[in-house]
Symmetry: C2
Subunit: 533 residues, 2 copies
Amino acid sequence: MYPRKLTRQVISDPDYPVVETKAGKLRGLVVEGAFIFRGIKYAKAKRFHLPEPVEPWEGVKEAIIYGPVSPEFSTGIANDEYNVPHFHYPQDEDCQYINVWTQSIDRNAKKPVMVWIHGGQWVTGSGIELYAYDGEEISAWGDVVFVSLNHRLNVIGYTDFGKYGDEYKYSGNAGLADLVMALEWVRDNIEAFGGDPNNVTIMGQSGGGGKVRALFNTPAADGLYHKAIIQSGAHAGDGDGTLEESQYLAERILAHLNIAPENVKTVEKVPYYKLARAATEAQKDVAEKFGHSFMWGAVKDDEYFLGQPVLYGWRPEVKNIPLIIGTCLGEFDNNYARTLIPKALDDWTEEEKAEQLKAKYGDKADAVVEAFKKAYPGRNTAGALFIGDWYRLGAYEVVARRVKDGCAPTYNYLLTLMAPLNKGTVPWHNMEEAYVFHNAQYLEASYIPGVSEELQDIMTGAWVAFAKTGDPNHAGMPIWHPEDGSAMATMIFDRDTHMVYDHDKELMSFFSGVRATGPRAAVKLGGGPRQSL
Amino acid sequence: MYPRKLTRQVISDPDYPVVETKAGKLRGLVVEGAFIFRGIKYAKAKRFHLPEPVEPWEGVKEAIIYGPVSPEFSTGIANDEYNVPHFHYPQDEDCQYINVWTQSIDRNAKKPVMVWIHGGQWVTGSGIELYAYDGEEISAWGDVVFVSLNHRLNVIGYTDFGKYGDEYKYSGNAGLADLVMALEWVRDNIEAFGGDPNNVTIMGQSGGGGKVRALFNTPAADGLYHKAIIQSGAHAGDGDGTLEESQYLAERILAHLNIAPENVKTVEKVPYYKLARAATEAQKDVAEKFGHSFMWGAVKDDEYFLGQPVLYGWRPEVKNIPLIIGTCLGEFDNNYARTLIPKALDDWTEEEKAEQLKAKYGDKADAVVEAFKKAYPGRNTAGALFIGDWYRLGAYEVVARRVKDGCAPTYNYLLTLMAPLNKGTVPWHNMEEAYVFHNAQYLEASYIPGVSEELQDIMTGAWVAFAKTGDPNHAGMPIWHPEDGSAMATMIFDRDTHMVYDHDKELMSFFSGVRATGPRAAVKLGGGPRQSL
């Protein structure tokens, strides 16, 4: 994806490699023996309408550069740019593009397919947004067909104008429908790229994990995927956007644009930047009316999207889909995000630690530290300040509900490996991607020679094994036990990867209930100034 | 710069590496043994004002992520994205940032310093815009201190509001003044990064080459650099923006923004996107009034900027600065840019070639082909369709003027190596950067195993030798003769790098005078739809 040190000539020939998709022929590249097809248009869409299949074409189209990504309200340098480096790319509402990395273009190869759904809270991001997202290594190492994609975000993806006409009936879930259309494209075309349409794993991190959760309760997606992975993608108390909220949002957007309801069609043609500004104002109106902050996302209309499975249950149609779900130890609360004292964690004095712990936990500080010591023996106790509880408790909730609903196996993990950044940093939101994509050597803030290679063989190995069979276990790691409801069974990924049971239950009890729960709770993101959603 | 496959841990420590600049301490990184400092603020500036030094600070600032780049009117996917891959980055008017790659932070190391000035026609781009711009390899391979930077572009860099108040006197050259300030930063601080402030080479490609030319006639820059390189950066008939044009532009911008002259200060606070739209309209007004298209760039005010040296001569102050100047064979006229027939060049039939040549050259087609054969014996004669004449003739003009002015040695080159893209593509605008930066293995469209390694050792070797001594000759290549006025002496960089003399003089005679010359000639950019300026 990004500049790689090549050892072999890249084949870019008008005649090879060419694959035949349902809509027409595509010409890709052979890079270091792998086949890469970039920027394949998987759907077209009018603004606020459901996506449609692309027009068939004659001849051979190039698929050698990435397609545009969904526009976002503003693009700045993320506060976590160093530890989570970004690859920005030009934005356009014409954003339904998919990328494929594969080791074979034989229709009979039938390799497992892994579909990456990017994060960014349904607001920002793209399938190529982070350095970590590069699919080249995982495809080659795991011999899988790896797919990533862009889809509509924010105001163009999740605003319900249904009140103003039947043609806008699904506008509140237009971006979710793009995802469904991408999965349909995979079903209809992935064989030509050597993939097995009957063995598709959907996976996402952060907002991308939220999208995986949403797909579970999107009937249109039923049957299009067979396994699922949620990385740092379930928050304690996660709720849904309601139809009422989204329709009020649409009403206020029209108002801010001075568009009368009978002229609603005009809103399809408003320049995006104006629409984005109106939406920003309308978000405030929604927050004021409903008493909590507005967040973009799928709209629970009980037709296209049935609401969070953690709240409304896993349906029979998707119960049998196995799931990996897990988090990073620090998430947004890592010590790079919150440099309380401008020196390395291990250089803090006992007094400095005590002062910070007291400031954060008050008279519970000692008890929290004791629980932290039990959960993570031998660790610097300053680590008790950096607990990604919002995500960890979200995983607890998902696991509990799936056990209750009698779902297929659910595997839980926690990445606890300290990164070398600043002589030791608690693992952050997005850090596991380096290990899941077998890209650890490309991420400078977290790479540890020897250790990273070993851990990525374990983690990518587990993800690939899971994509192949639904069971992440492989010979190179300890046995990963799924949840059975008796204890939180967690695979700790670290220098000494191992299983634990209820290891942090006591520690989590200090955080449980701290944040408001329920639909669209006015949650405050954890952590300090550095954060990529 | 971009994701590299690491073999060693990156050192990112609060205490090391730290260098002391004039304004304060900076903390960088040790990556694979090299020291990298990213996003150092070298100046601050109010809109339409000259840049000023940054405020001194206490403590240690991080210099581990890139700084924002100048805003541009719009950011889309370049038509040449495949062969010239881009690294986009967030934009902000706070854009005066510099990056340093070095092998030493010993103040006594005194390594040669190479300052990269990016292209993009004074309108777009940044010091990290292209994959090819990564300074890591050239710094390590050549043991030089490599510097790249961002500065103000387009309307915020080159609009003269001087009529409206003395504080705006230099607003027409604000972005050029940023470049000067960056060179002052190098003079004042580069020793701390192991560099020799008395041995600075400025180098740029395309618009960056234009900036190098402009610096030659910017008295404020005198003494700040000691060698210069212009890659595909001089066009036949290049002129200057005049004060009259730029002041009319400013007048029209105020008009489009409905700002009365007495309220001119308001224009400092207008949101950039509004300013950009007003400027886009004002450009049309300028074109209409002056009868030729408007191009952004330094404004010849005969005080800050004295105009193109190719028109007004090399001054005694800068005559003794040696220069490398050269081009790529196809530039914007390569066969990937103009896929006249959708198949590989070598697969064209004689009839197809004849038809295209006839269409382009009419009854001169046979004569052009004969001249092409003499210039490039043994080549596919379809290549006669893909001559980057606008740039090649620009180099001719610069060489002629420097010989006339009695300047220090001028070395000319031409990259003629066919790229493997589409089974053979004439070298394009930007292609030489892969070889100049020793990054050939990272550029998939042009990489040829074995051949690329050899050629980049020759080219990077020549650039580094030139930066060290002012003479590009080194043991690994044929002798590169400078110009003496008797013939166009050109180093052909290819599989068989060699010198030629007047090799394409006859061929160029068909193009000479084709395009209008003189200040701000209404030149039409060569080539087809694919182009990065």
